[in-house]
């Protein structure tokens, strides 16, 4: 009996370490991996699995952001500005939860995600987008920045465009995180990569910086509702934090094209999860 308890805890920690590594590198919270793992393998009810996933998101964010902020890869100004929209979206999403047709939303965004893989794949091999000009908002808020690229072995300057469409997309990402509990990190990275033309590593690490705050906006609801079970949350938080710290070290040495492929694969996984949910198969 006692051994089984330890075995369960170690299993959840192991799965969470993997979720933390992948999440911290791809710019998402690992909920896409944690939720199906808990609900399929351990038969954890979906509300508790989502509660654990919210903890996983915050742990990934805080665990990896410390390294990304120190190494100045994540763009804190872009992140803080966009968090305005994701957090307000998250509150809106939590309110909409009772009336929204979840199946239709799952199906719609599953399809949207599948389509959004295309521009991402087209850009494989690209480290820094070229010929990007600052738009009015990013000029005014000085959102453009630079980071040290290990693979190019030089300091890389980049501009920020499409702030308006990016912000609108962030509002949608926030609503999704409050409404569905998954997929918010994925849409953040897509918005920064496709609309705002940020380098992929800046997009994923800035998303990591942001997801913790977006999740915090809905975490209280799950926690005070009793959907955060300590027997599950403790190993998830422990494993994800370890994974995120490891992953944030790995990211610096990883090629941009590898990050892009990893992210592309994750998008397909999330899309499939959403489509399955849409047709009534809960994973």
């Amino acid at each position: 009996m006692f051994d089984l308890t330890l075995e369960y805890i170690l299993l959840i920690i192991a799965a969470s370490v993997i979720a933390g590594i992948i999440g911290s590198m791809a710019g998402l919270g690992g909920g896409v991996l944690i939720v199906p793992f808990l609900s399929l393998y351990f038969r954890v009810p979906i509300s508790l699995a989502i509660g654990a996933s919210i903890i996983s998101v915050i742990a990934t964010s805080s665990g990896s952001a410390s390294a990304y902020v120190r190494d100045k890869i994540s763009n804190i100004r872009v992140g803080t500005f966009l968090v305005l929209f994701t957090t307000s979206g998250a509150i809106l999403g939590a309110f909409l939860e009772r009336i929204a047709p979840r199946n239709i939303i799952f199906l719609t965004f599953g399809i949207v995600l599948l389509i959004s893989v295309l521009p991402l794949i087209r850009k494989i091999g690209q480290v820094v987008p070229e010929n990007v000009k600052n738009d009015t908002i990013s000029e005014k808020l000085s959102l453009n920045s630079h980071f040290h690229s290990a693979e190019l072995d030089r300091e890389v300057e980049y501009n920020v465009t499409g702030t308006k469409s990016g912000s609108a997309m962030m509002l949608v990402a926030g609503v999704l995180s409050g409404l569905l509990g998954i997929g918010s990190g994925v849409f953040k990275v897509i918005a920064m990569d496709t609309f705002m033309k940020l380098p992929i590593k800046v997009s994923t690490t800035t998303s990591n910086f942001m997801i913790g705050m977006t999740a915090a906006a809905s975490a209280g609801i799950y926690f005070f509702n009793g959907d955060v079970n300590p027997f599950i949350a403790a190993p998830v938080a422990t494993g994800v934090l370890i994974g995120a710290i490891v992953g944030s070290r790995l990211l610096l040495k990883t090629k941009s094209s590898t990050i892009r492929v990893l992210f592309g694969v994750i998008i397909v996984v999330v899309a499939v999860e959403m489509l399955l949910n849409g047709v009534g198969i809960r994973v």
Binding site: F2, I55, A65, S66, V69, R70, G212, V228, F231
Partner: protein
């Protein structure tokens, strides 16, 4: 590296380490004593325990604090988890101070609005649930 990102980076790593330490202490206590401090459940039941009226673990600030004072392992874990949840709110508060010190007016306002939104979400969570 400038001062503000160093301060922010320190905050991030320390907030993580503190909550992680508390969670690990609670988990070790649970494993060693075999007691959650709350109603005794089988493993299968424990993995399904949750919801507003659950007696398997505390999920309000008051019950968590009183449980901690009695060294209940699940109350200790929940306290660490709650700190983890609150850490992004502390992070944005720290950013307000940093931007204000740098005399960056627009970002002081942006960070302050985000902070208020997060506080509002905590407050609203009572009504949404």
């Amino acid at each position: 590296m400038n001062l503000s990102s160093r301060v922010l980076s320190y905050y991030l790593i320390w907030s993580v380490l503190v909550s992680l330490t508390i969670i690990v202490i609670g988990t070790v206590e649970y494993l060693v004593t075999g007691s959650s401090g709350y109603v005794n459940l089988s493993l299968t039941q424990l993995l399904k325990a949750g919801g507003l009226s659950t007696t398997a673990f505390p999920h309000y600030i008051y019950t968590i604090i009183t449980g901690m004072l009695e060294f209940k392992s699940f109350a200790i874990i929940q306290f660490g988890v709650l700190l983890l949840i609150l850490s992004p709110i502390g992070r944005i508060f720290l950013q307000i101070l940093i931007y204000a010190k740098e005399r960056d007016r627009s970002f002081t306002v942006i960070a302050a609005v985000v902070f208020l939104i997060l506080l509002a979400s905590l407050y609203l969570s009572k009504f949404i649930s």
